[in-house]
């Protein structure tokens, strides 16, 4: 009979008391019930949880505003939870999105397998892998700096969220120096990069850090000056005030107020690319020159923290552009354009009307959508343009952008002084610039539409279909 014995050793059956048996039984049955559902519908559960969380925060915020107006502590806890959850989900979404955008630009598909529909769970799989990966500190590295650097990079960009408004009332701390806090926090982020580069004790990382330092001193000045333009126009550093001033529809957005503002908006966008190390200014981690720049020695979770910081910073600079130049949380529709029959419902004082206002006139959803559109443009630029050389970055920032920004600043000052807001010149400028941008946007949409129709002719039959017999 011995030859029929199992070739493995039977696991020992544990000796359990009655109450332990009961507990194990309950736990096993809960797990047994939950596990198949968890495994079968991960997408539904994940998106359900995210959607539930968003709805929950929205409801609790509404309720707390209505009933708990006095209890700031509770409101703060809720707001911090919401903000950090939002900040945590930006990279999760944006990394997957970037891979899909890049893939479509390059006539590929991008992630398709992980999680089912279009590889939606790709960033989560990456995250789990990176957490479980070895956290390697090189022997020659300065261990303290090396370990600290990711946090010095990540924490400031998350702090920047505290004064970043999502709506007129959707802000954690409505400070009068809100803009300064955000700019300062974006500046601190650089210190982490330099710490990482120096602490890794590798030549490539030092190069990456030095490039970041050079880049920072060159782009921060034009960036700061470009931020001054909306500030001096509105007369406040308070982001909520700046945002509220643009709530009168598409043509009242600050970027369209004067030619100087329009150029400053574009210039700010360029410097913001340099600020969050995006192509064509991705010199600190330029892959074809410096292997992976300041990130060369990082692995696992610390590396992913840098990526978290980068994507959150991308969102922040885009959101700042939206607040300062592109109407903040207000929609392109002016409240004046709402017809009476609709206004009667829309401007009523109840929860449903307020939700509708948020959708039509402006609210956090508009803010997030607009910011993500600018993030999308950042990705678009990254996958189109080659990388600039370091001396060209310094040249363009200091010798081109800086004088330009000074001219713009003086021009805008004079404009504010001499051109009243309701004068004919101001009106014509406003209408010209806003309709120009609108037409450009419509034109882009038209090109995209035609391109979709003519896919075979543009990309070519051979790229769309296989050759007969191939």
């Amino acid at each position: 009979m011995t030859q029929f014995s199992t070739p493995w050793v039977e696991r020992n059956k544990p000796n359990l008391s009655a109450i332990e048996k009961l507990m194990v039984g309950v736990a096993m049955s809960v797990a047994g019930l939950a596990a198949p559902i968890l495994r079968r519908f991960p997408a539904a559960i994940f998106f359900g949880a995210v959607a539930g969380g968003v709805v929950g925060i929205y409801l609790v915020a509404l309720l707390s505003e209505a009933f708990l107006g006095e209890y700031h502590l509770l409101r703060d806890i809720l707001a911090v939870t919401g903000v950090s959850l939002f900040a945590a989900h930006i990279p999760l979404f944006a990394i997957w999105w970037e891979r899909k955008v890049a893939a479509r630009i390059q006539s590929r598909m991008g992630p398709m397998r992980v999680g089912g529909w279009h590889g939606w769970a790709q960033s989560m799989a990456d995250g789990i892998k990176l957490i479980a990966k070895e956290d390697l500190v090189p022997a020659a590295a300065d261990a303290a700096l090396f370990r600290l650097a990711p946090y010095v990079t990540l924490i400031p960009v998350v702090i920047a969220f505290l004064t970043l408004p999502f709506g007129a009332h959707w802000i954690f701390r409505n400070m009068d120096v809100g803009l300064l806090v955000i700019v300062a926090m974006l500046g601190v982020e650089v210190v982490g990069v330099i710490m990482a580069g120096w602490g890794s004790n590798s030549k490539w990382t030092v190069y990456g850090a030095m490039r970041e330092a050079c880049q920072m001193v060159s782009y921060e000045i034009p960036m700061g000056i470009s931020l001054l333009l909306p500030v001096l126009t509105i007369g406040s550093l308070n982001l909520v005030q700046i945002g509220d001033a643009q709530a009168g529809g598409w043509h009242t957005w600050l970027a369209f107020q004067s030619p100087f503002m329009f150029v400053a908006a574009v210039a700010y966008y360029i410097t913001s690319l340099a600020s969050c190390k995006r192509a064509p200014f991705d010199l600190p981690e330029s892959e074809s020159e410096l292997v992976a720049g300041f990130l060369t020695e990082y692995s696992g979770i610390r590396w992913s923290l840098f990526f978290f910081a980068e994507y959150v910073a991308m969102y922040i600079v885009a959101a700042l552009a939206v607040v300062l130049f592109f109407g903040g949380w207000s929609s392109p529709i002016s409240p004046e354009w709402i017809p009476d029959w609709m206004g009667r419902f829309l401007f009523a004082d109840n929860a449903a009307a307020r939700a509708a206002q948020g959708l039509i006139l402006g609210g956090p959803i508009w803010m997030v959508v607009k910011s993500f559109f600018l993030v999308f443009v950042q990705m678009w630029v990254r996958w189109t343009l080659p990388r600039i050389r370091i001396d060209q970055v310094l040249y363009s920032c200091i010798q081109v952008l800086l004088p330009l920004m000074l001219v713009l600043l003086i021009g805008q000052t004079l404009w504010v002084l001499w051109v009243p807001e309701d004068s004919l010149l101001a009106m014509v400028t406003r209408i010209a610039l806003s309709s120009f941008t609108g037409l450009a946007g419509l034109g882009a949409c038209w090109i995209i539409f035609k391109a979709r129709l003519k896919k075979r002719a543009l990309v070519g039959v051979l790229a769309v279909e296989q050759l007969p017999g191939a």
Partner: protein, 399 residues
């Protein structure tokens, strides 16, 4: 070279002057770039002596892919050696087959049927397109434009489909063989090829829009790594690297082989900025010229394939189905125009069917030797631009 760099990076050079006057004490840094580095196209190793971002000297070290091709060549019969030539310049297998086959045909005195010559031209030019596409794509990658690489590979797959239809392999063809080509092309292949050419021709203009005339790209590559015509010849540069320096030299014109004299085509050379559509900041012999010559050559290749398909006669494609070839006691040295330059094969026979010596002159080997000369006093980013513009294939450098 110093004055050309002076124009491309004036600010930094001024800084260095200041440093040399003793304002700041700096130290030189030795950086090991490669053998595993994204910009070194395989296993090239560059040791950079750098002062901050400035590279004072870049010394190439090669041999990390030395696969003993010459030793194998003198141990195998010529027919057996054809697959090894594929693996030398693995981006242009057809051209390598052609070079070795012509060398063996010359020494053994074999004639190639006319149809086989036309097919050789078609496939050599198709492979030239495929090879230049990789050069274009990876150069974009070196400069930081990722998408050009994907576009070039998208079109390259179609070339590979055509080659695969003829010989069944994607990369290592062994299609062109001693005495002709291995097999005739399948029915309807010419139509497919013409369909591809009609599709591909306008794509080259698209590449120009995407990359060649992009301002950032021009800024990165113009006046970087300038090679004068004299230097280019002295260092033995051939192919697009030589033509980029403004020398009108092409073996397909000067010493035609396989019936190239029957075709009508131009030799694109590097032109100074301001003429035609060339950007103003370009000077003859810089990285941009070397890059752009390749794009123009692709147009010429399209033109050549069209002519070859139009005039291709019917007939045999292989001289004789003999699998051994006796090599007389003689020696021969044959060079043909590869996508990267002149690929030469020296074969010495000793009366048996195994050659006594096979020597390959890799064009990339000579092209690479100029790196040390032209990458003095440039930036680290320029080293990637220079090496990329030379378009070396390490399989052929190390053989």
């Amino acid at each position: 070279m110093a004055d050309t760099v002076l124009e491309s990076a004036p600010d930094l050079l001024m800084d260095i002057d200041r440093v040399e006057q003793g304002d700041v004490e700096t130290e030189e840094l030795l950086i090991n770039m490669g053998p595993q580095h994204p910009a070194t196209h395989g296993v090239l190793r560059l040791v950079l002596r750098a002062d901050g971002e400035m590279v004072i000297e870049a010394v190439p070290h090669i041999g990390y892919l030395h696969r003993c091709a010459e030793k194998i060549g003198e141990n195998l019969q010529p027919y057996q050696y054809i697959p090894y030539t594929d693996r030398m310049d693995y981006l242009a297998g057809m051209n390598n087959n052609q070079a070795y086959s012509i060398a063996v045909e010359r020494i053994a005195g074999m004639e190639v049927p006319e149809r086989a010559q036309y097919l050789r031209v078609i496939f050599a030019e198709l492979n030239r397109i495929a090879s230049h596409l990789v050069a274009f794509g990876t150069y974009g990658l070196d400069i930081g434009a990722f998408t050009a690489f994907l576009y070039s590979f998208r079109e390259r797959e179609m070339v590979l489909d055509l080659c695969e239809a003829a010989c069944g392999a994607r990369l290592t063809y062994s299609y062109i063989t001693i005495g002709g080509v291995h097999d005739d092309v399948p029915d309807g292949w010419f139509d497919r090829c013409l369909e591809f050419l009609d599709y591909f021709d306008p794509k080259i203009d698209e590449y120009n829009q995407l990359l060649s005339f992009n301002q950032i790209f021009v800024k990165r590559t113009a006046k970087v790594g300038v090679v004068s015509a004299e230097d280019a010849i002295a260092f033995g540069l051939t192919g697009p690297c030589l033509r980029g320096s403004g020398v009108k030299w092409d073996l397909r014109k000067s010493t035609p082989y396989d019936g190239y004299e029957k075709f009508d085509f131009d030799i694109p050379i590097g032109r100074p900025g301001g003429t035609d559509e060339i950007p103003h900041s370009v000077v003859v012999g810089d990285s941009w010229c070397r890059y752009y010559v390749r794009l123009e050559e692709m147009k010429q290749s399209v033109n050549l394939i069209r002519q070859a398909i139009r005039n291709c006669p019917e007939g045999a494609t292989l001289a004789k189905k003999n699998k051994t070839v006796k090599l007389p006691d003689d020696e021969v040295y044959v060079e043909i125009e590869n996508p990267r330059g002149q690929l030469g094969f020296y074969i010495r026979g000793d009366g048996s069917s195994i050659p006594a010596r096979v020597k390959a002159r890799g064009p990339s080997f000579c092209n690479l030797s100029i790196v040390r000369h032209i990458s003095n006093n440039c930036l680290i980013a320029d080293v990637a631009a220079i090496v990329g513009s030379l378009d070396v294939v390490m399989g052929e450098v190390d053989r």
